[in-house]
Symmetry: C2
Subunit: 210 residues, 2 copies
């Protein structure tokens, strides 16, 4: 074989291993991944599984990166064709909830599961997921604020937490409760949070208090 | 010792073991609990740890039950002195968010972590957490609907998902991002969701769409 095609083979093998790791981790957690189980899944030797990554910890980092990239390319990037505003946000809500209901990983939202699993395990994986979640908060805050720049940024940040929260509760309703109404409910709840933010004049968080 | 005090001793020992198990599980997950680690934590023998429970799986079930009971007695029960309505709900929001920010368990919200950990592990623990989460949804839906019975129940159910979601996102902001603004933000976001629900005339989920 030529050097070119053997490099392609190596990349393909690496991608197969990462894919198998993400599938296992989405169901039972990143730390549950054993090289032996992956070797069994892929009918490879343990040294063949670990070879492209040098160590199990590099393999877990590659699995986390693949899950993050999948979310970005499925949910975020396609919306970037539209300028910031209500149409782009409506598109984002559709794609985000569809990603949860038609999840590419068997165990549900990988990033939510990994963030809970890793929040008390200091190290590189935890740093990577914290950075990813932090950037997602910042991105959503900018997107929400663009819907109604007359509102304070703090209110957009509150709305970003509400949207992320709805996605987490929806993941729970899908994965734990197997509730078929969870997807449509998530879209209504997200649209409601955004509608509230875009109202003029704005309503205050305790306007309904008696 | 009299039979009475030896029964009390046994109950106290059992409670100490459950407490140690909840502390470990809140940080690293229920499945991470090993009888050996608990024995080390408590300076007991392994048979002394497992004795009051018959099996590790009974011990895990007791830990989950203790976490559920702690949430109920800290957050829900004290609000029951007030009749259903905006004051009771405001009290519930305060207690719920304070429970997240001043968490009784070192690893953060036990029920969220357990629900993610167990959602792909069929069995008694998963059934118990699914039942608990399902009842919490039903309870919140009734409480929210009481704020404005002229709204459809579906809207109250949507708001319940929004509130539960905000609590999950807040747990992430506290545990993963160590964000000191997370608590006040959660209270604002929850009050906003409730205010939106109580508005008359109601706004529709896509009223802000252009």
């Amino acid at each position: 074989v030529s050097p070119r095609s053997s490099a392609e083979d190596a990349a393909r093998t690496r991608a197969r291993i990462v894919h198998a790791a993400v599938n296992r981790a989405s169901a039972l957690g990143l730390e549950s991944i054993s090289v032996r189980d992956l070797a069994d899944d892929l009918r490879m030797s343990k040294s063949g599984v670990i070879g492209p990554f040098k160590s199990r910890s590099e393999l877990l980092a590659a699995a986390l990166d693949m899950a993050i990239t999948t979310f970005q390319s499925t949910v975020i990037e396609p919306t970037m064709r539209t300028p910031a505003g209500i149409n782009r946000m409506a598109d984002l809500v559709e794609r985000w909830v569809d990603y949860l209901t038609q999840c590419p990983f068997p165990g549900g939202c990988f990033i939510t599961a990994a963030s809970i699993e890793l929040d008390n395990r200091p190290g590189r994986l935890r740093d990577r997921i914290a950075q990813t979640v932090g950037r997602w908060h910042e991105f959503l805050t900018r997107e929400v604020h663009a819907l109604n720049p007359s509102q304070p940024v703090e209110r957009a940040r509150d709305a970003a937490t509400t949207l992320i929260g709805i996605s987490m509760a929806t993941n729970q309703e899908l994965q734990l409760l197997a509730d078929p109404a969870a997807g449509p409910r998530a879209k209504r709840a997200m649209r409601m949070a955004l509608t509230t933010f875009t109202l003029n004049p704005p309503i205050a968080p305790d306007a309904g208090k008696t």
